[in-house]
């Protein structure tokens, strides 16, 4: 069996609260996790789409720009003077004649495009034509060793594009540029290149306006992995910031989640076939997911709030359920203690009210049944009582009638008359109109009649004293209590004795009771029997035994078990048997 004594953990209130809370927590957890995941995915997808699109557009813009610049190189290369100049290798007079025209041509192009830093034709022999006539070459370095010179593609090939660098070609100027170079040949020999330096700031302006959130940005790398543009270029070169360039180069297009400089970074990138450059969009994941953080925070607040509400509601609700049950329980405890007169009022309007009503009905029924039971018991007791009374007299009647017959036969008429009178009195008092409670006066009268008859029967073999204070006469007693005791005294104390016996009847008022006793001067009771008698075991084999038992039972029935017979014995000198009854001043109705 489960032990329900440790009730607190099973109480309805705590069960309600726990169940509700657990349900809520699970639900919130499931909701939070799924919504976070979905939210994350959507955020990342949206960001990817957005950045990819931006990169696509940016590539378009840059390709457009670069191809425009390539077109410029084509225009220059198509110029007749330029062609002539190239093909006139070694012919310095021709070159000298053509140079100002070409210079002017280059100058006019550069005038149109302010984003051109340098537009220079450079020749293998060290000759050059710059858009700016004042330009002098920086003689410290040989341009023929520069990458953009060595790697310049053939005229029909795509031009070579460098990453961003400092152009130290012209003396005294060190601009940051992106160089586009294209070689030209004369009779299969590399004759020189056309160098077009783009102002790096222009590229920077094209891109730097693009923003990916607060912390995101775009950067560009060339196929060699060199940085063409990076908004934090200074940080990169100063080793304060890093980018994972190799995997991006390997993939060309797509997206990549990476951890760089203690930050989670989402790279989204795409390459341009024209320039070979890869534009990389960098999104800060933390920033990207800041929306999720807000969602999470909101969920937390929501959970906390709902939690409080749930606890509040379940406390209230359980209170509404538990309180009536508590009061019902208290009422039932009263009923357990025997108080059937209460009416349970639980002050509520749900099932517990019905339960309480049912309990009320049950209590009422139990009360009715108990009353009924009591009445039945009473009836039964009365019947038993009457039967016991009825057992008393027959023998005495026969014996007395015998004695009367003997008196009449012996012509002792006077005695016969007196005996008959006493017998009549005895029976009148015995019956006493069916009343059970009679005044002690009548008890004494009744016992006197009995003793007179017995004395006459046993001639002078016995004597008796009735020592009752007349003050007690007005109290009431149960009838036929004393008579069996006296009968017993005569039977055991007088009848078989050779000497004359004495019977003393006393009634003494004590504090709350009246004590009756019948003494005889017989041999007393042997110790073994006395012990038995005191233990309440009265043998009812003999007639006098039956009488005593009868008295005992009636005392118990009528007054309760605390009113009992008592026995005293003085071996060889006599014994005393008596009882107590409560003080009864008025006969019960």
């Amino acid at each position: 069996m489960r032990d329900y004594s440790k009730r607190s953990s099973y109480s309805i209130r705590s069960q309600l609260i726990w169940t509700f809370s657990a349900m809520l927590v699970l639900e919130m957890l499931a909701f939070g996790i799924t919504s976070s995941i979905l939210f994350d995915r959507t955020l990342k997808e949206n960001n990817n789409n957005y950045v990819s699109q931006m990169i696509f557009q940016m590539n378009g813009i840059i390709d457009n720009y670069i191809s425009y610049m390539e077109d410029i190189t084509s225009v220059v290369m198509q110029h007749e003077d330029v062609k002539d100049y190239i093909s006139s290798t070694g012919d310095s007079s021709v070159r000298k004649a053509l140079k100002p025209g070409i210079q002017g041509f280059l100058f006019s192009i550069k005038e149109i495009r302010k984003d051109l830093v340098n537009l220079i034709l450079l020749f293998e022999d060290g000759d050059f034509i710059s858009s700016n006539p004042e330009d002098r070459l920086n003689e410290t370095f040989d341009f023929r060793h520069e990458n953009w010179y060595l790697n310049a593609g053939l005229p029909f090939q795509k031009p070579y594009i460098t990453s961003s660098h400092v152009q130290n070609l012209i003396k005294g100027r060190y601009p940051w540029v992106i160089s586009i170079s294209r070689s030209f040949h004369n009779q299969g020999e590399k004759e020189g290149i056309l160098l077009l330096d783009l102002n790096y700031d222009v590229i920077q302006e094209l891109i730097s306006d693009v923003e990916i959130g607060e912390k995101g940005y775009l950067f560009i790398i060339n196929p060699q992995g060199e940085i063409v543009y990076h908004p934090r270029q200074d940080l990169i070169y100063n080793d304060l910031k890093h980018e994972k360039i190799d995997p991006i180069l390997a993939m060309k297009k797509g997206s990549l989640l990476s951890r760089v400089d203690d930050e989670d970074i989402l790279y989204t990138f795409g390459s341009s076939a024209d320039t070979g450059w890869t534009i990389v969009g960098v999104s800060n994941v933390k920033e990207l997911l800041s929306g999720r953080r807000e969602l999470q925070n909101f969920l937390w607040v929501l959970t906390l709030l709902t939690f409080t509400i749930v606890i509040l509601i379940s406390t209230l609700l359980s209170g509404r359920i538990v309180k009536p049950i508590e009061s019902l329980r208290k009422s039932m405890q009263q009923v357990e203690k025997g108080n059937f007169d209460i009416k349970i009022d639980v002050q509520c309007d749900h099932e517990v009210y019905d339960l309480a009503e049912d309990c009320n009905i049950a209590i009422r029924k139990i009360k009715d049944l108990m009353l009924q039971n009591e009445q039945e018991q009473e009836l039964k007791r009365k019947n038993e009582f009457k039967a016991l009374q009825a057992q008393i007299n027959p023998h005495f009647l026969y014996n007395t009638l015998d004695s009367i017959i003997w008196l009449i036969e012996d012509n002792e008429n006077e005695d016969a008359v007196r005996m008959t009178e006493e017998l009549a009195d005895f029976f009148r008092l015995s019956l006493n109109k069916g009343r059970e409670i009679i005044p002690i006066r009548q008890v004494i009268e009744h016992i006197s009649s009995y003793l007179v008859i017995q004395q006459m029967r046993y001639k002078n073999k016995m004597d008796y004293r009735i020592l009752v204070d007349p003050e007690l006469y007005s109290y009431y007693s149960l009838k036929l209590l004393l008579q069996p005791l006296v009968e017993n005294a005569i039977y055991h104390g007088i009848k078989n004795q050779k000497k004359e016996g004495l019977v003393v009847i006393r009634a003494v008022k004590e504090e709350n009771c009246i004590r009756f006793s019948v003494e005889d001067s017989g041999p007393g009771i042997d110790p073994e029997t006395l012990q038995q008698l005191r233990a309440g075991e009265i043998p009812d084999a003999s007639r006098s035994g039956m009488g005593l038992k009868n008295v005992q039972e009636r005392l118990h029935i009528f007054f309760g078990n605390e009113y009992d017979l008592f026995f005293e014995s003085n071996p060889g000198k006599g014994s005393c048997i008596g009882f107590t009854i409560p003080l009864i001043k008025e006969p019960p109705q």
Partner: protein
Amino acid sequence: MKPSRIITLNILIVFLFLLIYYFSANMSFFSFFKREYNVVLVMKTTERISEFWMILEKGAIQSAEDLGINIEITGPDLEDNIQQQISIMEEVIESRPDAIILAATDYKRLVPVSALAREKKIHLLTVDSFISSDDAECEIGTVNEAAGAKLGAFVSGELNGGDTVALISFVADSSPAIEREQGVRSALGNSFRILDTVYTNNNIDLGYTETKRLLAEYPELKAIAALNENSAVGAFRAVKESDRAGEILFVTFDSDLEMIQGLEDGIIKATLVQKPYNMGYLAVQMAYDLIRKKPVPPSIDTGSELITRDNMYDIKNQKLLFPSI
């Protein structure tokens, strides 16, 4: 509890819900808890001539932007206006920023005002030029002794024992000047004849005349080391003019356009370039860490690069020599 009270409670709760929803949906409710940090950078000069300080400023601004904090940049007009820097510091302290980054114009005279800043519970960091007390919680800059030693080691490697070396320093009692000189001297050791240090007081003209005097006075002079930008420019002009240009081992600290050409031409054999961008960037970052009570090292070496004609166009050095401002 009475039904009417439960209804009231429910209405209240619903109202609260709506309120919270409104806040979290319509404004960045939780950003309310984010504090804005204010950092002030007090430079040595706000003059738009000094490339060094403009780059340092650029680094600081970039850092502040990356970290999302506010930065205010101020400083005296000229590098030698110490009193002006002190009063600027006092004003800045009045405005109670979270942190001050100071490039001290004087090693000692900025100490009291620095102590005041610390007293007012403002974080103090020093950048490039430090102070003699330990009021600064973090010093960010070139470890001048190490930088000096780098330059000294280069000179030592190019010379023969017993050669004469001249040192041209800028201010006698400035900490970087002292430390750089110590670094150079310790790297040179005892195997060379080192002339008494010449001070230019950060004046280009004085650098020029003093170098001219040295070249004339000591024809046996094999190497000259100029220990800061202004001194170097003055010395460079003197060396360039002399008939020993390119022959004498002339090394410098810092660079400008004029000196880059000197480097290309081979007049300057090597220059030690500092990293002002790093200084500005890291100073703001450290200030941010200090404000957020993160542990910060007492000093950060932003490093330096020895640049020669051979490596000056390496992509990393391009950025150092030709910072795009």
